[in-house]
């Protein structure tokens, strides 16, 4: 076995794990009565207000990343939501996967400086701490983060962490939403939270409800809002339900399942 090329030993029939067959896919097969129980979902955003009725008081853990004179700081104390956006995403995810375990990764405060750095650090924390799904409302347009975030996205992919990213609402690139290893989501005008489409012309591969959506917000309130960042958590919630029923699905298997169940895919 020593003379095998690098990596070849992993493909020995004796050691190769059996993989899940993917045929005859239906929503019943994909998520059935799954509630997302046992699935860890990180909301990388402005924080989560656990006491909002849509969140239901259940947040599994907190980390707030800040960048100051002393460098990056990680604070694991319970925190709230600086703006309301993280709570909005958490509420959407909770509505689809009511028993998933939400984690608040707060990377967005009132400061502009260091946004890319805190975002990357928050994503790194989520990937390295066993999150199954990361809901990413934001990204960075800064090219100097391109390689580092690409590394993180690859690391997530190999660790079976599904990164669900909102596509940029503005014309122009945003990272990591353009990487092939993530599930990039934009909005459609439908009103069904389970209705999603597959786009065969990437990089934005899926469309979900994100226009004029009633969502949770700060101060225990609700707003009606539009944006790709409200579409992404719909896919995150569905992904959490699927993982609740099929733990261990890889990101590429997840894309395959979602593609098969998309509203624009012909049914047999």
């Amino acid at each position: 076995m020593d003379d095998l090329p690098a990596w070849a030993s992993q493909f020995s029939p004796e050691t190769l794990d059996a993989v899940l067959p993917l045929h005859g896919l239906t929503t019943e097969w994909a998520w059935g009565d799954s509630t997302g129980a046992g699935v860890k979902v990180a909301v990388i955003d402005s924080g989560i207000d656990a006491d909002h009725p849509d969140v239901g008081g259940r947040v599994g853990g907190y980390v707030a990343v800040t960048d100051g004179p002393l460098g990056l700081q990680h604070d694991f104390e319970v925190h709230g939501d600086s703006f309301g956006h993280g709570t909005a995403c958490a509420g959407i995810i909770r509505s689809l996967a009511p028993d998933c375990e939400l984690y608040s990764v707060k990377v967005l405060g009132s400061r502009l400086t260091g946004r890319g750095t805190t975002f990357a650090a928050g994503l790194k924390w989520a990937v390295e701490n066993g999150m199954d799904v990361c809901n990413i409302r934001m990204g960075t347009t800064k090219k100097n983060f391109y390689a580092g975030l690409h590394d993180l996205a690859d690391k997530a992919y190999f660790r079976n962490t599904v990164l669900v990213t909102a596509a940029n609402n503005m014309p122009g690139p945003s990272y990591p939403s353009l990487y092939s290893s993530v599930i990039s989501v934009a909005s459609h005008e439908g009103k069904d939270p389970y209705l999603f489409y597959y786009n065969p012309s990437p990089p934005v591969e899926f469309g979900a409800q994100g226009i004029e959506v009633r969502v949770a917000w700060a101060d225990r309130g609700w707003i009606t809002a539009t944006g790709n960042s409200f579409a992404a958590p719909h896919i995150s919630g569905i992904v959490a339900r699927i993982l609740g029923k099929h733990p261990g699905l890889t990101p590429f298997q997840m894309k395959t399942v979602l593609r098969a169940l998309a509203a624009n895919m012909p049914r047999q």
């Binding site: 956006h85 009132s110 502009l112 347009t141 940029n168 503005m170 004029e212 101060d219």
Partner: protein, 232 residues
């Protein structure tokens, strides 16, 4: 420069730049109802729709600002003008948010839609470059005024605006024949952005047509009268 005049009519507009050290917004230019009061304001980053857009770097469309907790109700109250609909986009320069462009109270439609957001986003990208370049030349005030005129209707823009230098500049620009021709062509920018969503073949055809016409123009003497003779 009323580039978006036929594309995104608004009752009022505001354009403000970020003072990063003070972590505040300066309302550099505001046009429309109660614009004089708005101009005097400084607003903390993160406050109101514009603050959220600046901090998140993402645009926002609000269809019922009166009941939306994101809206800076204190500002609306203090200036006596409460918008119903808002479209707000960030201005990016060198990958940083340098300001925010806001349109208030959509005219001609109930609310701002995704197409408006994309169109204003395209415009904002261009405006940000022009603004940052003009900062170095000390002409930012007139540039900003001009940019606001570009983002809304001429009629609504005339409702306010007491910066005489800026008004003179805007008036001078409006009288310029080249500018007038640009105005006539400007709404096509929105049409072209729509073509980009139609598909590769359509985009290719559009590129070929525009490139062909541009090549033809370059091959002729730069004389507008001759062009008018051919195309007028």
């Amino acid at each position: 420069m009323e580039t978006a005049a036929g594309v995104i009519p608004a009752r009022s507009t505001a354009l403000f730049l970020i003072d990063e050290e003070a972590e505040e917004f300066d309302f550099e230019v505001a046009l429309g109802p109660e614009s004089d009061q708005v101009r005097e304001m400084r607003v903390p980053l993160g406050h109101g729709i514009a603050g959220l857009v600046a901090v998140s770097g993402q645009p926002m469309a609000v269809s019922d600002a009166g009941t939306d907790p994101r809206q800076a109700a204190d500002i609306a109250k203090s200036v006596g003008y409460a918008p119903g609909t808002i479209l707000c986009v960030p201005l990016f320069y060198n990958e940083e948010v340098v300001g925010v462009l806001e349109l208030l109270d959509r005219e001609g439609a109930e609310t701002y839609n995704a197409h408006d957001m994309a169109t204003l986003g395209l415009f904002a990208n261009q405006a940000a470059v022009a603004i940052e370049q003009s900062r170095a030349q000390g002409s930012v005030a007139v540039l900003l005024e001009n940019a606001l005129l570009s983002a809304s209707t001429a009629e609504s823009s005339r409702l306010g605006g007491s910066d005489s230098r800026a008004e003179e500049f805007a008036a001078r620009v409006k009288e310029d024949a080249t500018h007038q021709r640009a105005l006539e062509l400007a709404p096509l920018v929105g049409e072209i952005s729509q073509i980009s969503h139609q598909g590769e073949r359509e985009a290719k055809a559009c590129r070929a047509i525009l490139q062909g016409f541009a090549d033809y123009l370059r091959s002729r003497p730069a004389n507008s009268d001759e062009l008018m003779g051919d195309f007028g």
